[in-house]
């Protein structure tokens, strides 16, 4: 079901990303794919996958000593550090090089993609911590201030990525019948929690 309609290269790359061996084996049921005749070059693709699996199996069986396992873990961590980090999805994103006019840049920006921003989930970075207040920047004009949660309170410090539910980009309103708004120079968002890194690994 999952492999239906996708080409074999994508399937192979998807399989390599499946961390759990059981999941991998679930998807490489050769009979299912070839029987449905939905994947072209199905046999080639699956051959590739089975080879990959074989190599992985041999890897795990050879790591018998504690030292070797530790080294393998270190190698994995090193590889992870070398791999380019996935860019965070902020409200103000990096513009693609093809957009040359401001109108085009704006049209393809995250601000436009948000649409009605009230109630939308965004990722922010903690830029300052003052007592129990976290100043979070999510890519808008202003930062927002959220109280530090009770759960995992020590894990919130400068540079931490957090999930927010955006309420307002700028807290401003007109008071006492005035036309001109009074602004607090702050955005309004509710802190949901820490941002969990998505499970990604190019190497196993």
């Amino acid at each position: 079901m999952f492999l239906i309609g996708c080409n074999t290269n994508m399937a192979a790359s998807l399989l390599s990303r499946c961390v759990c061996q059981r999941t991998r084996s679930f998807f490489t049921k050769v009979s299912r794919c070839s029987a449905a005749r939905l994947c072209t070059n199905a046999t080639d693709g699956n051959q590739e996958n089975s080879d990959l699996l074989k190599s992985q199996k041999s890897e795990t069986t050879s790591e018998s000593t504690h030292g070797e396992r530790a080294l393998a873990g270190f190698a994995k961590a090193l590889e992870k550090a070398r791999v380019e980090v996935v860019t965070e999805d902020d409200v103000a994103d990096d513009t693609e090089t093809e957009h040359t006019t401001f109108a085009a840049m704006l049209r393809h920006s995250k601000l436009m993609q948000l649409g009605d921003y009230t109630g939308r989930m965004v990722v922010g970075t903690v830029i300052e911590v003052v007592g129990d207040d976290l100043y979070v920047d999510f890519g808008g004009k202003f930062h927002c201030v959220c109280p530090r949660p009770k759960l995992n309170s020590d894990r919130y410090h400068r540079g931490v990525k957090v999930k927010l539910r955006l309420n307002d980009l700028e807290m401003s309103s007109s008071f006492l019948g005035s036309d001109k708004h009074v602004t607090l120079l702050e955005a309004d968002a509710t802190l949901i929690g820490l941002r969990r890194q998505p499970a990604k690994s190019s190497s196993l």
């Binding site: 103000a92 990096d94 513009t95 040359t100 006019t101 401001f102 109108a103 840049m105 704006l106 920006s109 601000l111 436009m112 009605d116 921003y117 890519g139 808008g140 004009k141 202003f142 980009l169 700028e170 401003s172 309103s173 007109s174 036309d179 001109k180 708004h181 009074v182 602004t183 120079l185």
Partner: protein, 279 residues
């Protein structure tokens, strides 16, 4: 009209006439034209406008131009190559296009606003880029002629950055409470004859009460040109070289600081290179 501006520009930049006028707080005697769209006019172009200006003013203008040691710098549109410093993409990624909510909008900022998205004003960066080029060029020319530049901002979050920027380029900053009469009553307040700045750069034109910074009106009264970053809630009318842009995000303000610092340093480097210090 361009010739009048040219004359004023040169008078403002050459040291001796300005020192006398500023010290005594008198007006120079020429009507200051706040031509927002004009650029420094070359001597060759002056002839085109000769029919509109009276002969006496033409002669005075020609005399001042002849005495100007840095006249060559005015022949080029971008003498310090500042256009390459910033692009539209830089402005966009620095969040310069974000304005305040439409309820805070100043009526005089309407020409610079691209549109309003979900009540948030978006500043037109195409216009901002042109204004920014003009402002940077002007700043560099002032630095080239040995002018004193004052950075001003009442945004406390940016205070350390602005003060450091001024320190880094060897100029001055005033990001604290502005005492009324600092420019207009300088002789009494400083108890000495004071040389006032030759350019005021406002990173934020409003004070903590969201009213115009007092230094704006004072600088205009003593004929100090103003370069200012104007957000959608600011009044651009008193600013000589307004740059419409976001003044509340740290990314945007750090971009402006970096650009103005670079412009000033280039102007100063060129001044040293052309050995204008002795003049």
């Amino acid at each position: 009209m361009a010739a009048i501006f040219m004359e004023n520009f040169l008078a403002a930049c050459s040291k001796s006439p300005l020192l006398n006028t500023r010290l005594l707080g008198h007006t120079h005697g020429c009507v200051r034209s706040l031509c927002i769209n004009s650029r420094p006019v070359s001597h060759k172009q002056q002839g085109r406008y000769s029919s509109s200006t009276p002969p006496s003013l033409q002669r005075a203008s020609a005399q001042v131009a002849a005495q100007d040691p840095a006249a060559e710098s005015l022949q080029h549109e971008d003498f310090f190559h500042l256009k390459s410093l910033v692009s539209l993409k830089d402005l966009f990624s620095a969040r310069v296009h974000f304005g305040h909510k439409s309820g805070s909008r100043n009526v005089y900022m309407t020409p610079y606003i691209f549109g309003c998205r979900q009540d948030v004003d978006i500043i037109d960066l195409e216009r901002t880029l042109l204004r920014l080029h003009d402002a940077l060029n002007f700043t560099a020319h002032i630095a080239y002629r040995g002018g004193i530049i004052l950075f001003l901002s009442r945004h406390n979050q940016m205070l350390p950055l602005v003060e450091k920027t001024a320190e880094d380029c060897g100029e001055y900053s005033h990001c604290r409470y502005w005492k009324g009469g600092t420019f207009t009553n300088s002789t009494i307040q400083f108890q000495a004859e004071t040389r006032l700045p030759d350019l005021c750069i406002f990173l934020n034109t409003l004070n903590n009460a969201f009213l115009d910074h007092r230094a704006m009106t004072e600088a205009t009264k003593v004929l100090v040109p103003i370069v200012g970053i104007v957000d959608t809630n600011s009044d651009p009318r008193l600013v000589t070289y307004p740059v419409p842009g976001n003044d509340d995000s740290p990314t945007a303000v750090s971009l402006y600081c970096r650009l103005f610092k670079e412009a000033i340093l280039r102007g100063k480097a060129k001044r040293k290179e052309d050995s204008l210090d002795s003049v």
